[in-house]
Symmetry: D2
Subunit: 324 residues, 4 copies
């Protein structure tokens, strides 16, 4: 009765998902992996079935449910194949390389009439974000009027553009802001420091709340994500991201991780467990295909607006009833 | 050789300045106070001379130097009188009720050819801000590219408008941002939550640095000022504003003050001592008349821009050489 | 190939272990539960086999490995039965109600010649303690010379004695201190506040390191565990035990849990996963039967010393080679 | 009406006291300094009268009140001379090199019938300690039952003995513990790590409260003082001793000072101001001669006890009524 999961892609994230399924998840097991690089697939499989063709994995009777962790450009095609096969899928963000492709998935799922797609916005499962969302939902801080986000990466390659900072990094804040606030975004505006990095992105939600985000690709000192939610009664924010403090060499300190994997280790595990539990129980959890599409669309509209400057009024088609 | 100081206005701040001169300042003494309310003036004087006419205090031979803490509308007139009398003056912010009046003080001082006016932007003397400025100046965080400010007041009266939030509260961030960054502001833009409070003000400096400020008149939980300066190498920010932590009733906590006086007690004392020391030594310290004028002008230009929305390009006349 | 685990006792901790096996542990499943109260056992079983006789569960072919979470007085008997049956066992602390019974388990296991017993000192799996231990082991703080422990419970019943504070609560610090320092205890001394609570227990290790522990049964404000390890180069300690901070009602705060279950949720899960993994792999993990015996013996010797006052010189029989 | 203060000794602390009187203290001025090294005295005097004979300074009509900051062995003699001259004196700790000499000062002052001696236990004026004391006095944490002190010095010379750690460093905790708890010490016991450093000193007060102190002469990472007061309702402790936090080089950190002068800068200033204010007003403030004597006596009794080991029962002669 253990859920048989197949993982497509065995790069950093795919290998991590495979490991979670083998070592840290109850009620599921790693049934198959797929990678064009068969040696890499075999290494990640550790005894599970090995595929080099993702569509073969998706349609295989060995596999009950699918995790997509292949390159971004392939996400939409595999997600559609999962829908066609009627198999639940956890797709790494983004759901699609373009909003148009994302919308096609939404439409396919809406036509199918049941939700099979979860987009891997793992921050929703981070205990700190989850406590913040719970505090707001419970009314502890009153109506939310502001959200301060900080998203700092250690460094980015030379060829990393401001557009990529939006579609690749800031997209996490788009999703988590919608989720923390329980509101949809209606406008966005970007201000950039010299060279384009860091940027301050100011969005406004349909609730009137303002979302202010520092997107920083070359923060130099470490990977650092922070958020503070401000309500009419008070605020709730992340505590210092550490479990221990050291006093050494004239200073008290704690260390930052160099990327998101150590920072969100627990979120990835909790996401996988929650997805397996929901899949076995026949319902859905986490970011939906609609969330995945909207997030990609907002990022796309912001990037278009950056070319001309000024404030971008965000718009989307009507949301299918499946996502109510 | 103790500096004889006269204080104009004996409201909350005037009484505090008088107390500092009597009890906490070396090298000076409270020589006179002035208030239209003679009883209140007498109470604050504690033996010093009492005036009910500010111009009489300014011109009195009993007084070597003047502190202006009377209502905002009177600042400019008294400051000009001090310049006419050739007496050093520490003027509570704002230097003037309008930019035009502020510019008149700048021009008078420039004509006089020596700096006698200090504007009481006391945050420059706050040890936390001072450490942040020193860290940036010393190059410890690399070139500064971002400044995050938070300015939260417990609550404001019903009649307090968004324009007043800019001219009365945000004006502190205008000054401290210019000082922390060592740069001039070139543009500003405001986004407001429902009802106009809180606001996010995004400014950009001539260095390219972005200044992002939450101005919040009804933060509900306490008076809270925070700043984080972001450079190419790292960041420096204020630590939690407390000296002790308590564990009580299921929580660890520390308390916030209800207004700026307890938060900036040490800054006010250090400002007074520094001003007395500089005055006795014959040089100037703190925010100049030019700083006071520019700050008032920026606030005024932002308020004008709020009527129409969109980004405001800030402009000023040429800075007199006296302020180089 | 999933490990079939039987849980004896379905009180608070037994129910939690059963839940972990059902919902949060990879590679194992809840095969059986046992409780004299059959209704309670059935509720915890959620479909697994139900026993009312622990010895029947231990010898059942349905069960590969056993978790003991029944009342303390029964631990030793069930642990010996597991050894007799050749089944791995995770036994809640204490291993036995008396040192003599604990020693009998050590001798039985030594006679068997392989380690089947793990004592559930879950703190060893707490990420904060684990980081502290790793920092010391890696030499980051130099040779450890001091350990400060704080162990505060919200409140204890009237009938809770100082002896129980040692055998029930402080026993956790005995184990974790030995593990953090990698050293054995050689002496102990107790000082008590009026009424016997709180107590300061000062131990010294064979390495010379001093272990200073506040044992506080009625701390009133919450359940709070803290530790700081001091070495010749510096220190490492637990950070504030929270993920979020709130600003509300004039204060910044975070909450304390009311007991050890929420505080050590992650430690219990990691302990169960590690024990399952080790059991499947055929080796042992966590606190051994010897650790369980020594810890119980030290607590017993301290309690005996409390009657007479003064310092207690701790002594043990020779450690069997199985535990080298 | 400015108080004319003479400073004896112009080493590190004497020079600092002279600076405070010149630059940071209202209502007083530096009237004279004394040092056997006339050049050093002249440098510190900055225009004030220069003496090379302390007794000449004490009896000089130029001097209303005296600060003693000369070598420890000279304190008692100068303090007695101040009493003989009827002049208020702020004496750096210790009041005397031996308890016997300290008692002689107490007796001389009691015979005089008015309090002229303040011992410079400046920690009483540290804002963090003062907030802790105020929290306890106001009943916010209930009856105090425990006090945890940490006193870490960066490093000590080779010849620094455990006895000196008690009489030179721990003496500060003796005074502050008595003051924080409002209680007298009745017993003490010392445990030492290998080489004698660090030590854990456990005292008990007549209120039954336990005082547990780490005295660490070679903490290696910086100068660090911490205290936590534990009451029946909760605790109050020092917050992290910093105003700013930096994120740099993979870590968040703040720096420790290398000695007590930067850590207690504000305490020294507030002590001087409070002493000047009290002196002018004709009453006394801070640690009395009795406090200075008892503190020295406790240190002496602890050192005697270290030779034999075990717990020391502390005893003192009756306290003269002058100190009620």
């Amino acid at each position: 009765m253990s859920l048989a999961v197949g993982v497509i892609g065995t790069g950093v994230m795919g290998a991590e998902h495979a490991r979670l399924l083998r070592e840290q998840t109850a009620g599921a097991h790693l049934a198959a992996v797929c990678d064009a690089d068969e040696a890499r697939a075999t290494a990640a499989a550790q005894g599970a079935a090995v595929f080099t063709d993702a569509h073969a994995l998706i349609s295989s009777p060995l596999v009950d449910a699918v995790v997509i962790a292949s390159p971004d450009a392939t996400h939409a095609g595999y997600a559609l194949a999962c829908l066609a096969a009627g198999k639940p899928v956890l797709c790494e963000k983004p759901i699609a390389a373009t909003a148009a492709e994302g919308l096609a998935i939404v439409q396919a799922e809406a036509a199918l009439g049941r939700r099979l797609v979860t987009v891997g916005f793992m921050r929703r499962f981070d205990p700190a974000y989850a406590e913040m969302q719970a505090a707001r939902s419970a009314g502890r801080i009153g109506n939310a009027v502001l959200l301060h986000n900080i998203h700092r990466n250690l460094s980015a390659p030379e060829w990393f553009t401001g557009a990529m900072a939006v579609t690749n990094s800031f997209v996490h804040e788009i999703d988590i802001s919608r989720w923390l606030l329980g509101a949809e975004m209606v406008s966005a505006q970007v201000a950039a420091a010299p060279g384009g990095d860091p940027m301050m992105v100011t969005m406004q939600a349909d609730s009137g709340a303002i979302i202010s985000t520092e997107v920083h690709m070359n923060a130099a000192y470490g990977y650092h994500v922070h958020a503070q939610l401000v309500g009419r009664l008070g605020t709730v924010e992340m505590a210092a991201p550490t479990r221990v403090l050291t006093n050494l060499s004239n200073a008290q300190s704690f260390g930052f991780p160099s990327n998101w994997v150590p920072r969100f280790t627990e979120a990835y595990r909790l996401q996988m467990q929650a997805w397996v539990d929901a899949t076995v129980a026949g319902h859905s959890v986490g970011a939906s295909a609609w969330d995945g599409y909207v997030t990609t669309s907002i990022a796309e509209q912001i990037v278009e607006g950056m070319a001309t400057g000024g404030q971008v009024a965000l718009s989307f088609p009507a949301r299918p009833a499946l996502y109510d």
